[in-house]
Each structure stands twice: as structure tokens, then as C-alpha cells.
């Protein structure tokens, strides 16, 4: 009972990666598309000569592909950044500073990524008022509260498309209608959703949209902000005036080309891959919860990202589960305090109403292109023993489970 395996102390030879939200591999087709832009086509898009012009053309082709992925009205609505964190900062701080004459109230949800939460908190120290919307037990933003919070002073509402930690997908179209009724602007952080769900900024009424490259199997260190025509944003990085003056700095050419290729692939393959992942996800959730007592799903069973499997087990702690899984070759994640830089459990898990000890017992698997049914079944197979061993060790385990 004390040992995880017969061959004590040795680590499993299997290596199964199920932490795709933390980081994704770059699609080999993307790598191939990027290589020439590191070796032979290294010009600066701002240069007049042919080297510069071929770089410029590559940048604009990538811009078109990203615009197509989210159905933006024109390619110039896409501004390249260094990633989702920068895009979120630009959307929130950039929009707030540019429009503060119209009002100083911002609304966001209580389950946003830190790169939305913290710019909002920062602005609240710079003369802005920020409201954090509550969510229900599944993570749905409360639409009535949104309606009530919106005033003539409200300039911006920022709500994520989907949450990577609990998988919840928000009713963006509905949120957009409410926000636009009050003449405010809607920013949507779609980092976790793009590439998994088809997104249409026009049909869904999105004014500002954050997109990340690595989350669609592109290279790290590049992202984009979609800015609808008419929405005005102040630059957060000043310099040579690249990206229509909104984001200075020489373009990350190989990154942008790779991002463009990844967007092209995502547009083509999103449907098939999402269907495959949804099947895997549902099999996985069932296998992780049904055979084990006191096992629960975090988030909503249906309005859920195709790759998101977030569960929790009573009486045990997340990091212990992660270490136990890692010893068996499985890489997962947890909303547990102990894995984060702070000691508090994840703000997302707290916002959906989990008690501290429940949040501490959370375990997050995020699936991706390389995961197979065999891998899912392997993890389903080893989970009961991991939970049993840790529960045997825990002073919190209920008496009935001890028998």
C-alpha cells in the first residue's frame, strides 16, 4: 500500500503529456514554415529593399490568416503582440487610457486569467473603478449582475471566452448584446478557446479579442489582439511605430509566420479535432469520477472546452496527486496552492464556490493533438490506486472510506 509500484523508487518509462493548457508542442508544419524566416528571409519588414519586402509580405499573409480564423472584417484589425498577456494588457489598459474621458468604470469577471485580473486591479489604483462579476457553481458569469453593474460610466467589459482551468464556455453572444445595449465595449480573452471552438468576432459581437499563438500549436512568444474598426486603443509600448503605431518593436517575423501557419491549420482542423477531443474528454471524465467515491467534476458537463478534464477528489491534495501521476509518467496540473507562486488556492476554484480544502483537491488534465484513447485509459486505470493511497495517508479521510 505504501509503494506505488512493485519496482519501488523507479519512475515509469511511459511519458504521457496532459498539460496542454500550460504549453503545447509546435505543429511540425508550423516549424517547417518558420525555418526559412530564420535562415534566409531575415529582412526587416520596415525596409524598402527586396529582403524587407518579402518579410513584409510574409507578415501580411500571416495577418490575413489570423483575421480569417476569427472572421475579422479586415486583416488590419489584427495587431501582433508578444502573446496573450500583452494582448490583454493592451486591450484593458490601452482601451481604458484612450477612453477615460467617456467614463472610468470597467467590468470583468472573477474567473479571468491573471493577465486580465491584474491590469484591472492596477487600473483601480489609477482612478478607474473595477467591478468583478460573480459566477455560478459552473463558472457562468451572472448576466443579471452584468446588466445591473453596467452604467453610463462603464466603458469596457472584459470576459473570457472560455476558462482553461474549469473549461466553462461563456455565453459571449448574450453578454455582447447586454454590453452593447449600454454602449460599452466588449473585450474577450479567447486564449483558451481559439483553435478549439470556431470563433466569429462579427457574428458574436466582439470588439477586442485576445489570441495566443502557442495555444493553437504555434510558437511561443507571439500573439495578437483583434481590434474592431472604431474601437480606439492607446499603445502600451512606444517606439518605432510598427503595427499601426499600436505596438512598436521590430516584428517577430518567424514567430508571426508560424502563428499564421498555425491559424491556417486550426481553421481547417478545428471541427474534426474538437469532435475527437470531446469524445476523449467525456470518456476520461466518466472514468475518473464514476469508479471513485467522492470524486467530482469542476465546471459544466456540456458547456465545456473539448480538451478540459477538471476533477476533484475529497480528502486529498492536488500536488500529491501530481507527483504520484508524474511518478507513473503522467503530466497534469492542479489548481492547488502548492503548485502556484502564492499559497492561496486558485481564484477560479474559489469563485465557483469551492471550499479551500475542495479547491486543494483539484486535478486538471488538458488534452491535445497527441493524446490517444489508450493514454486516457491508462490514466483512468492508475487513478483509483493513487487516490486510495493518498486517502489512506490523509487524516481528513472519512471513516466510511477507511473500511
Amino acid at each position: 500500500m505504501n509503494n506505488l509500484s512493485e519496482d519501488e523508487g523507479t519512475t515509469s518509462s511511459k511519458r504521457i503529456y496532459m498539460d496542454y493548457t500550460a504549453g503545447k508542442p509546435v505543429d511540425p508544419r508550423v516549424v517547417e514554415a518558420m525555418l526559412p524566416y530564420m535562415e534566409t528571409m531575415y529582412g526587416n519588414p520596415s525596409s524598402v529593399h527586396s529582403f524587407g519586402q518579402e518579410a513584409k509580405q510574409a507578415t501580411e499573409e500571416a495577418r490575413t490568416k489570423i483575421a480569417e480564423l476569427v472572421n475579422a472584417e479586415k486583416k488590419n484589425s489584427i495587431i501582433f503582440t508578444s502573446g496573450a498577456t500583452e494582448s490583454n494588457n493592451m486591450a484593458i489598459k490601452g482601451f481604458a487610457y484612450r477612453n477615460k474621458d467617456r467614463g472610468t468604470h470597467i467590468i470583468t469577471s472573477s474567473i479571468e486569467h491573471m493577465s486580465v485580473m491584474n491590469p484591472c486591479k492596477y487600473l483601480s489604483t489609477r482612478g478607474f473603478k473595477v467591478s468583478f462579476l460573480p459566477v455560478d457553481q459552473y463558472g457562468f458569469v451572472n448576466l443579471e449582475t452584468l446588466e445591473k453593474e453596467l452604467t453610463d460610466e462603464t466603458i469596457l467589459v472584459s470576459v473570457m471566452y472560455a476558462n482553461g482551468e474549469i473549461g466553462i464556455i461563456q455565453a459571449i453572444k448574450e453578454i455582447s448584446r447586454i454590453v452593447h445595449d449600454k454602449k460599452a465595449v466588449l473585450h474577450v480573452d479567447a486564449t483558451a478557446a481559439v483553435g478549439q471552438i470556431p470563433i466569429d468576432v462579427k457574428a458574436e459581437g466582439i470588439d477586442l479579442l485576445t489570441i495566443s499563438s502557442n495555444d493553437i500549436y504555434g510558437p511561443k512568444g507571439v500573439g495578437a489582439l483583434y481590434i474592431k474598426q472604431g474601437a480606439r486603443v492607446e499603445p502600451t509600448i512606444h517606439g518605432g511605430g510598427q503595427e499601426q503605431g499600436l505596438r512598436s518593436g521590430t516584428e517577430n517575423l518567424p514567430g508571426i509566420v508560424g502563428f499564421g501557419k498555425a491559424a491556417e491549420i486550426a481553421k481547417k482542423e478545428v471541427q474534426t479535432e474538437s469532435e475527437r477531443l470531446t469524445r476523449l474528454r467525456d470518456r476520461f471524465i466518466k472514468g475518473l469520477t464514476e469508479p471513485i467515491p467522492y470524486a467530482f467534476l469542476n465546471g459544466h458537463p456540456v458547456e465545456r472546452l473539448p480538451n478540459n478534464v477538471a476533477v476533484r477528489y475529497s480528502f486529498i491534495e492536488g500536488e500529491s496527486m501530481l507527483l504520484s501521476l508524474d511518478m507513473m509518467g503522467v503530466a497534469a496540473s492542479s489548481g492547488s496552492a502548492c503548485t502556484a507562486k502564492t499559497l492561496e488556492p486558485s481564484h477560479v476554484l474559489r469563485a465557483i464556490g469551492l471550499k479551500h480544502e475542495e479547491a486543494h483537491g483539484s486535478l486538471l488534465f488538458t488534452l491535445g493533438k497527441q493524446n490517444t484513447e489508450e493514454e486516457v485509459d491508462y490514466v483512468i486505470g492508475i487513478m483509483p490506486d493513487i487516490v486510495k493511497r493518498l486517502r489512506a495517508m490523509s487524516p481528513l479521510t472519512s471513516k466510511e472510506l477507511k473500511e
Binding site: I316, E317, E319, A337, C338, S394
Partner: protein
Amino acid sequence: MYTEKVMEHFKNPRNMGEIPDADGVGTVGNPVCGDVMAIYIKVKDNRIADIKFKTFGCGAAVATSSMVTELAKGKTLEQAMKITRADVADELGGLPPIKMHCSNLAADGLHAAIEDYYKKQKVKGMKK
């Protein structure tokens, strides 16, 4: 993240379990911070004859619990009272900085168990 020693104790914890007729029990931590430890001791001739632990918590919490039972077993109560959090962490080859205060509660648990033992002895003495 963790030393080999920590992982070794996490994989094969020493003295895990309960002592139903323990002479002293110390429970420290709380579920809010994510760590709860219970240390059970059996005392004979002023020495810790047997010691067991139960822990809810991260890898560091399990490893420090396991290590403190190893350090305390066979020691006199006075010697055991002198085991510090730093001793436990040092024996494990160190802990990540953030774990030093949140999950390194095992020595506190041991001390609480010994104090519980003293308290129970006092009550027994009064009954006599």
C-alpha cells in the same frame, strides 16, 4: 523542484498510519492552507517507542512528516522536543523556499504530540 530525498520519502513514507492507543497525539495545520498533519506517539521509559503520522498535503508535507518520525523514533522526549523545522528540512536536503513555512509543520506536530503526552500524564497523576 524537490530533492531526491524528498521524493524518496514521498514515494515510500516511513511510519505512515495511526496508533489507536497513542500516548500523545499532535494535530497541526488546517485544510485552508492545504496541509494537515497528525502525529501519534507511544512513550516508554521517557523515550518515543513508536511514532506514526497521517498527512493531508503536498509532497513536502508528506516527506517532512515521514522524516520527523524517523528523526524522533527512539529519542528521549527532551531530545525530540529539540528537533526543529530546520533539522527536518536539512535532513531532506532542503525544501523549495515557498514550502519552508507552509508545509514544514512536521516538527510542530511532533512537539504537539509530546505536549499532549505530558498533559495526559498530568491528568493521570491527578487521578491517582
